[in-house]
């Protein structure tokens, strides 16, 4: 079978990866990818998340939280089955690709 390149970018892969086991607040996701050295302004980050939503990979909603005695909203996200499937497929691709690369290196030797 021919192995096709997955449609996810590295950034999208990293973002979806932060939500594998749990739903998360947008702020947390942004903090998590900041650890990979990804610096995005909040608007740019949320625009990217909106695109992931539009592609039905994640699901987003507003939830009310309280800070001090004030109620504010925050945007929360969870992975949709399609997103999960695509992430799994992408990871599998990278695994196969790295395996193939290792094999070739050994056979060259």
């Amino acid at each position: 079978m021919r192995d096709r390149l997955p449609p996810l970018t590295h950034l999208q892969f990293a973002v979806l990866g932060t939500m594998l086991d749990t739903e998360r607040a947008g702020r947390d996701v942004r903090d998590a990818i900041a650890r990979f050295g990804v610096k995005r302004s909040a608007p740019a980050f949320y625009q990217m998340m909106a695109r992931l939503e539009r592609d039905k990979l994640v699901e987003g909603w507003y939830e009310q939280i309280t800070v001090g005695d004030q109620a504010v909203t925050e945007r929360r996200y969870r992975l949709r089955p399609a997103g999960r499937k695509l992430w799994d497929a992408t990871r599998a691709f990278y695994e196969r690709a790295s395996l193939a690369a290792t094999r070739e290196r050994w056979s060259d030797a």
């Binding site: 947008g26 702020r27 302004s41 909040a42 608007p43 740019a44 980050f45 949320y46 625009q47 998340m49 909106a50 507003y62 939280i65 800070v67 001090g68 004030q70 504010v72 909203t73 925050e74 945007r75």
Partner: protein, 904 residues
């Protein structure tokens, strides 16, 4: 956290998609983060939080604009320069995006354009920065002194009780003890209401005697102003009862410096004045009350008041203040106090006739004197900014007129008027923003210089920490946006709706548009008018100030040294011992220091003191149930009159023979003689003094007692010889330099009494200068701003006339070729400029004449329409304007006719 209206407005201009996808969730995060920060921040962190939040939101909006532009680019919508506003709107959504994209694009374009004209840009930015910088610097001082709340919790609820005598119009802050006790029992407007008084005391028994700032206070004062005890406790109700054991609370600084922060201090006893007091606690650091005090309070002792008002209602005096009950403002409190004053007047007509109590916000009493000069300065720098704006407006206009061909080409290619105006707006914005940045940088420096120049006698709260903070920044942004709006409006006038077709047809021959020319002329006229107004205002105030400086106080200040002294109270408990000391001291000072005269007085003139005493002729007592009128009170020795060289109109001054048991005597000022003894001489008459009579033995000249601006009022003098106090002020006249003998005088006094406490030693000249130091400073600044305004106006007139000459080069060449003389040309140009200036002068003169009335309260001995000031100011501006026209006119006259024609 609330979004400012302009933030919401800007956000709503974002494309719908970006707004919903990116802005809304990012804003929610920002808000939560700000709230979290707020919850953990202290009071300091919370100040300016709203400003910082709105700034952060503005950044969010800018980031969203970038996103929107990026999106638009990828969809190739922005690639063309086609103007949608002209070719028909593709819908609201698109238009919004367009506004965003255009603004960013135009700002960058403007910045590039300005970079290619460094000379123009630098001149514009520096002129504007001068205006903005001066405004920011003065505003920073206004903000710190007037707008920042006092360092007490909920300071706006604190109010001070004041008293006005309706018959004499004299206002006082101190009130009679009897009145305080009754008011405290009856008033319903203060949640806490307390007496206080401040002064200085001597602590003895700790090595050298220490002179400290003392506050006497009711027990409620300290908690009300937010002070706490770091050791022991504060004052309690029982401390303030009659017969309670004397206690004291130490100030934090005194505790650390003079008592080495002794942990076991509570319970120790110290001697303050003549009383042994137990230290019950140490107050928290930074205790300052009243707020004008430059130093921290050293000791706080309770004011002990009787439980009920004494029969002699004026047996003592206190100050009173309090925290207003929720929902009560100073006006409502005053209404209540007025009713109570009238009640008390009915009950105690002898003591309370005409007495009216009222409440004033504490902040107002603190900033009282500084308020008017500061707002005046703010007004003056405002005018400077306007003139700077007019100058820059002129530069921009001239430039815009030079670009008419470019504009016409762009219009012909399909750019809309809106787009072209947008371009000009963007340029104005960039220039203003640059000027704002440079202005702030300059202001940072100017503020430091400004504060260091403030004379030390000006003790306004907040002056110590004047700086550029959030409020000042917001003000700068406001000023900058305002200047940008003004220029945009001006330059927009030059873009014509008809497309300016003739500029395309004959590019070189187009004269400036009608609207542009009119705008330039209007600007110059306005500039001249503003300069005249500022000059007249400053002139009036400076003139009245110079009158003030040269006003005759009624006594000579030069050559007089004043020394505040306090004798150890125990050793000088008896009147005789005090009299003996002063006699010895005056003799020794005269012998050893070569003094011309030496005397003692309790009240130092020109320091704002207005203590009074009732005046009543013994032979004409006031009818029963009425209160005699008040006159100024002073206790002075015979030498006092000699030292101040006050003229003795008749009779004699006091002498040592006036000591008890000699009959009581007083001296009155000549206005008492005029007022109460019309047509007769006062000397020999008797006046009521308390329960006894006293004979008037002398009449002296009137003096301005409280301040130089006060008209001389009636004063009565009591013999210091008869009741010498332990604390007084010595007035020493020398033939030479008064300040030079200060060290020797102090040494002489110490030799006489090693335990003497020597307080402020200064000269009467200095006292006089200090009494007007704040005004001197404010007015020097005002003069400086007036000069800057004049210079800017001159530059403006010159700039416009130079431009006019350039525009009319061809015409001038023709005239010269046809036989006009050089004088004709000079006259031609000067006449044109002169007409504009004359209209400006007339407008400025008229406005000043109408507005001068508002300055009346600040003027002293000068009419609001003082002809010499008006004439002088107009003359100076007119001369400046003519000179500014003459320089370009001469250049025009020197033109070579053939070359001028060819060039044109």
């Amino acid at each position: 956290m609330r979004d400012a209206a302009w933030v919401t407005w800007l956000a709503r201009r974002l494309p719908q998609e970006v707004f919903e996808d990116a802005f809304v969730p990012a804003l929610a995060d920002r808000r939560a983060a700000s709230l979290r920060h707020l919850a953990s921040a202290g009071w300091m962190g919370r100040s300016g939080a709203s400003f910082r939040y709105n700034l952060a939101v503005l950044v969010l909006i800018l980031q969203c604009w970038r996103l929107a532009r990026g999106e638009a680019r990828t969809s190739l919508r922005a690639a063309t320069a086609v103007d949608h506003t002209r070719t028909g709107s593709p819908g609201h959504h698109r238009q919004r995006e367009h506004f965003v994209m255009n603004l960013g694009y135009q700002l960058r374009h403007a910045a590039r354009l300005l970079r290619t004209q460094p000379l123009f840009t630098t001149a514009t930015v520096l002129t504007l920065a001068l205006g903005v910088g001066a405004n920011v610097a003065v505003f920073a001082v206004v903000e710190a002194v007037l707008l920042r709340p006092l360092p007490y919790p909920a300071a706006d609820e604190l109010a001070v009780l004041k008293h006005r005598d309706e018959r004499t119009g004299i206002e006082k802050e101190f009130i009679a003890i009897g009145d305080f006790i009754d008011l405290a029992a009856r008033q319903q407007v203060f949640a806490t209401f307390f007496p206080y008084s401040s002064g200085s005391e001597t602590i003895t028994g700790q090595g050298d005697p220490i002179r400290v700032d003392a506050l006497s206070a009711g027990p409620d004062l300290l908690p009300t102003i937010g002070a706490t005890a770091v050791r022991g406790r504060l004052l309690s109700e029982t401390d303030a009862r009659e017969g309670a054991a004397p206690v004291v609370v130490l100030g934090h600084q005194l505790w650390t410096t003079s008592f080495a922060a002794d942990e076991g201090i509570v319970g120790r006893r110290i001697r303050i004045g003549q009383t042994d007091r137990e230290i019950v606690g140490v107050a928290s650091p930074g205790l300052r009350f009243p707020a004008t005090r430059a130093r921290e309070v050293g000791i706080v002792v309770p004011i002990v008041l009787p439980a009920a008002a004494p029969a002699e209602r004026k047996s003592g005096w206190v100050f009173a203040a309090g925290r207003l009950s929720p929902g009560i403002d100073a006006a409502r409190a005053t209404a209540n106090l007025r009713t109570l004053s009238e009640q008390m007047e009915g009950e105690f007509p002898v003591s309370n006739q005409g007495s009216r109590y009222f409440a004033t916000p504490l902040a107002d009493t603190v900033v009282g004197d500084t308020k008017r000069p500061l707002f005046l300065l703010l007004g003056a720098v405002g005018v400077v900014l306007l003139i700077a704006c007019a100058n820059v407006g002129n530069l921009l206009l001239a430039r815009a007129l030079g670009r008419r061909q470019e504009m016409a080409v762009r219009m012909a290619l399909g750019a809309g008027r809106a787009r072209l105006v947008g371009q000009l707006v963007a340029e104005s914005l960039v220039l203003s923003a640059l000027a704002g940045l440079v202005g702030i940088a300059a202001a940072r420096w100017a503020v430091v210089a400004l504060v260091s120049l403030v004379p030390p006698s000006v003790t306004a709260p907040g002056l110590a920490d004047v700086g550029i903070n959030g409020g000042v920044l917001a003000f700068t942004v406001g000023v900058t946006i305002l200047t940008a709006v003004i220029f945009s409006a001006l330059t927009a006038l030059t873009v014509r709706a008809d497309g300016g077709g003739e500029a395309l047809v004959a590019p070189g021959r187009v004269s400036s548009s009608q609207a542009g020319r009119r705008a330039a002329a209007a600007l110059v006229t306005a500039e001249v008018a503003l300069a005249v107004m500022l000059l007249i205002g400053a002139g009036l105030i400076l003139r009245s100030f110079s009158n003030l400086l040269t006003a005759d106080p009624g006594f000579q200040t030069s050559g007089v040294l004043t020394v505040d002294i306090a004798l150890p109270a125990e050793r000088y408990a008896a009147v005789e011992s005090r009299s003996a000391f002063y006699e010895r001291a005056f003799a020794a000072l005269r012998d050893r220091n070569g003094l011309v005269a030496a005397g003692a007085g309790v009240v130092t003139p020109l320091t704002g003191n207005n203590w009074t005493v009732p005046f009543e002729r013994a032979d004409r007592p006031v009818p029963a149930g009425q209160r005699p009128p008040d006159v100024g009170w002073q206790s002075a020795s015979g030498g006092f009159f000699d030292a101040l060289t006050m003229p003795v109109r008749s009779g004699r001054v006091f002498a040592t023979s006036d000591r008890a048991p000699a009959p009581r005597v007083v001296i009155v000022s000549e206005s008492i003689e005029r007022q109460f003894f019309p047509g007769e001489t006062a000397v020999g008459h008797r006046v009521r003094v308390g329960d006894a009579d006293a004979e008037i033995v002398g009449v002296v000249g009137d003096i301005r007692r409280a301040s130089l601006t006060d008209e001389p009022r009636p004063d009565m003098y009591f013999p210091f010889e008869r009741s010498p106090g332990t604390a007084t002020t010595l007035f020493l006249r020398t033939a030479g330099d008064a300040a030079a003998i200060a060290p020797a005088v102090r040494q002489t006094l110490r030799d006489l009494e090693p335990q003497i406490v020597l307080g402020t030693t200064t000269t009467l000249d200095r006292v006089r200068a200090d009494s007007v130091a704040g005004t001197t400073f404010a007015l020097s600044l005002l003069g400086l701003f007036a000069v800057i305004a004049l210079a800017l106006a001159a530059v403006g007139v010159y700039g416009v006339m130079a431009y006019v000459v350039r525009q009319r080069t061809r015409e001038i060449g023709t005239r010269l070729a046809l036989g006009a003389t050089r004088q004709d040309i000079v006259w031609l140009i000067v006449r044109q400029g002169g007409t504009m200036a004359a209209v400006g002068l007339a407008a400025g003169l008229l406005t000043s004449w109408l507005a001068a009335e508002s300055l009346a309260a600040m003027l002293y001995d000068v009419s609001v329409t003082d002809p010499s000031t008006f004439g002088g100011s107009v003359g100076v501006v007119a001369l400046t304007a003519v000179l500014a026209c003459y320089v370009p006119a001469r250049r025009a006259a020197r033109l070579d006719a053939s070359r001028a024609l060819r060039r044109a």
